[in-house]
């Protein structure tokens, strides 16, 4: 028997959801067969079988979410041998084909919970009952980290506190207004946890500037007319390029905070600009790598492909990794300006509003100008207000002299 474990598909992945099983119990499996589709915090990925055999048992059903390293299925390799290197060798005997009943666990004594030897030793010392402690290790094994949540001496009777409200408890709150519950999928869960982490742990400030983008829009129209082959450069493509050039000029903004060893600013050597995309599953931020070294037409082609893949939910982990700064553009929705939340571990994000015609005073004359508002949200631990302002000034200057963007 070989345990198939929830794989680690990206460096930030801590858990994954089973999107779809491609094999069912009893199916023969050859190395390279797609076994299962797994939804991570970033993408939907196919997982292939590494070993040949027969899928004996599915341990995690579609839609369920488990930690990496958790067994999700068992493969009967027919050898009767223990799995070689990787398997976390389950102690339970392999069930024979006859019984497919689901209720009883394989272990004969239900009170015997899998726990590491270290956990058993600590439990003896502290007088803990392992039956009451949830295990988060492979196969539900209780590991030391699970004990950290348990108080050394149980101060309260958990059954009592759970089931019996105190005598003077207020009357139960009225039933909430009816609502339809839409459970989070992996991407929504990742958005919720990452942005909560960002908004609650990162001290931020925002700086807004506006750019006169009349020239930029004119240049874009010229470029698109000249191409003539249907390829269209978007305002966002030009923005990504301009942002990348401004980041190159202000490396302190192309940076991340590190808490290690008393704190540090990590200046990234590459300029990889993430673009916030509203996909059917929610917000995703695919990355245009080395945008400071790419031409606008290259950025445009890369961005178009990323947006299409976001729509199909086929973005790979690599396409979502290693961003150093993010551009979030809601201009197409007519938004005047907004602020964005930093995408950790990046140090800043730029929120871009719509290009709008406005009246302006030029040498005492009232003239019409097309202006766009740009708001940077920055991590104040590593970026000060003056630096953010200088970055915006560089960006505004680039956008107002658009030939420098495409030069």
């Amino acid at each position: 028997m070989i345990d198939i474990l929830m794989p680690r598909l990206s460096d930030t992945m801590t858990e994954g959801a089973i999107a779809a099983w491609h094999k069912k119990p009893g199916d023969a499996v050859a190395p390279g067969d797609v076994l299962v589709e797994i939804e991570t915090d970033k993408a939907l990925m196919e997982q292939e079988a590494y070993e040949a055999g027969v899928l004996a048992e599915i341990l995690v059903a579609e839609g369920e979410n488990v930690a990496i390293g958790t067994p999700i299925a068992r493969l009967d390799d027919g050898s009767g041998e223990d799995a070689p290197v990787a398997a976390a060798a389950p102690a339970a005997p392999a069930p024979q084909a006859a019984s497919a009943s689901t209720s009883a666990p394989a272990s004969a004594s239900p009170e015997r919970r899998p726990a590491s030897p270290l956990v058993r030793k600590i439990a003896r010392e502290r007088g803990l009952d392992l039956a009451t402690i949830p295990g988060t290790g492979p196969g539900g094994r209780i590991v030391r980290a699970d004990l950290d949540a348990v108080p050394v001496a149980p101060a309260v009777d958990p059954v009592r506190t759970q089931e019996q409200p105190p005598a003077d408890a207020p009357a139960p709150a009225p039933a909430p207004a009816p609502a339809d519950r839409i459970p989070f999928d992996g991407i929504r869960r990742a958005i919720a946890s990452r942005l909560t982490e960002s908004a609650t742990t990162v001290p931020t400030f925002t700086v807004t500037a506006s750019a006169d983008v009349g020239g930029l829009l004119g240049l874009r129209a010229e470029l698109n007319a000249a191409a003539g082959d249907g390829t269209r450069i978007s305002v966002n493509d030009l923005l990504v390029r301009a942002v990348a050039l401004a980041l190159r000029q202000h490396p302190g903004v192309n940076a991340s905070y590190s808490a290690a060893d008393g704190g540090a600013t990590l200046l990234h050597r590459r300029v990889n600009v993430g673009i916030a995309v509203a996909s059917p599953a929610g917000l995703v931020v695919p990355v245009v790598p080395d945008a400071d070294r790419a031409s606008v037409s290259t950025i445009s082609a890369v961005a178009r492909r990323l947006v299409e893949k976001a729509a199909d939910r086929t973005l790979s982990a690599a396409e979502l990794a290693d961003g150093t700064f993010t551009v979030s553009n809601l201009g197409m929705h007519g938004v005047e300006h907004f602020t964005a939340i930093i995408n950790p571990p990046q140090g800043a994000i730029l929120a871009v509003g719509a290009a709008r015609d406005e009246l302006a005073l030029l040498d005492g004359e009232i003239v019409s100008r097309t202006r766009m508002r740009l708001t940077i949200t920055a991590d104040h631990r590593i970026i000060d207000g003056a630096l953010a302002a200088q970055f915006l000034a560089t960006l505004v200057s680039l956008l107002e002299h658009p030939l420098r963007v495409i030069a």
Binding site: R8, I68, V85, A88, G137, V143, R144
Partner: protein, 330 residues
């Protein structure tokens, strides 16, 4: 301190022992005129003459047996076996004579023999010339087996081996000969049977020896950038095995990965895993993992050879998965 190569450190140790003790002599194939297949004995014939630097026919059993006899009668021979693969031809002499004579004959004579021989794959030498079979000798009571991973240890363990009154196999490594490091200028021998914590850490213990001990340090530095604190134990001696250092480390970190260049099944890693189970069972938070060579005769073709040998990436994966299992996620 001098910055010298592993090769130079071995040669320095041989030379200073030859100068210190007239009973020390070198014997083996091509070590004199040709100066050794890997040039460890370069210049020795000129300096010490053919009586103390003896070229032999291609006859491992014969010259190893001759050296054992010389050792029994009071000399201190240092045998070069060109690579550990050829030691198989002398297996009976080593296992049944060198290792047993002292015990079998009531302690009448000791056998102060040194066998120097490199192991290691990855040089496209084919399946029969790329093996890591030090285990065969570490298995035998009566033998000592040391496996230096650094130039400093190469010198200190070679000095110790020559001064030891029992047969010692010094496992060198083809991939380490050109590595460079700080080596003390004095002739202070190491203590045979003592492992070294070559990097202190708190998250996980990585146990290794010879080439893989250098891979372990490289991997530890890589993972340190992500905040994973790896402790590296370099065994240095396979017999006697310093079980206490391994156990003390695992009692601190609560999990371990063993890296070895030999095959997985019945390998050194299995002995380390058993040692940890004996001495640190109640401190283990995850099963001990082993990273070893694929269980095949090592292929000649470069891509296949590379794929079969354990790599730093394999080690990183095993370490990450072990830390995942104890929910110390990074």
């Amino acid at each position: 301190m001098s910055r010298i190569s592993y090769r130079q450190a071995l040669q320095d140790a041989l030379r200073s022992e030859m100068l210190r003790d007239d009973d020390v002599f070198l014997i083996g194939e091509e070590i004199g005129l040709f100066e050794g297949s890997y040039k460890i004995t370069a210049g020795m014939l000129d300096e010490f003459g053919p009586k103390r630097v003896r070229d032999t026919p291609i006859a491992e059993e014969g010259f190893t047996g001759a050296a054992i006899g010389a050792a029994m009668l009071g000399l201190r021979p240092v045998v070069e076996i060109m690579t550990i693969n050829f030691s198989l031809l002398a297996l009976d002499q080593i296992v049944n004579h060198a290792a047993k004579i002292y015990g079998m004959f009531g302690g009448q004579t000791r056998v102060p023999l040194v066998i120097r021989t490199p192991g290691g794959g990855g040089q496209q030498l084919g399946a029969t010339h790329s093996q890591n079979i030090e285990l065969y000798y570490a298995f035998v009571p009566g033998m000592k087996v040391v496996a230096p991973s650094t130039p400093a240890d190469a010198k200190a363990l070679m000095l110790a081996a020559i001064r030891d009154d029992d047969p010692v196999l010094v496992l060198e490594n083809l991939a380490l000969y050109n590595t460079v490091g700080e080596v003390p200028d004095d002739d202070e021998p190491a203590e045979i049977g003592r492992a070294a914590v070559t990097r202190a850490g708190t998250d996980i213990t990585v146990v290794a020896y010879s080439r893989m001990a250098t891979v372990a340090l490289e991997v530890a530095e890589r993972l340190a950038e992500e905040g994973i604190d790896v402790e590296v134990v370099d065994l240095r001696s396979l017999r006697p095995l310093d079980r206490d250092t391994v156990i003390a480390s695992v009692r601190k970190t609560n999990c371990a990965v063993v890296l070895e260049d030999d095959w997985l099944t019945y390998g050194i890693g299995a002995e380390i895993a058993a040692t940890i189970s004996d001495g640190a069972f109640d401190w283990l938070d995850a099963p001990v993992r082993r990273v070893a060579m694929a269980e095949v005769p090592l292929p000649y073709a470069k891509p296949l050879e590379t794929a079969a040998l354990p790599s730093a990436d394999d080690a990183v994966t095993a370490i990450r998965e072990t830390l995942d299992a104890v929910a110390r996620r990074h």
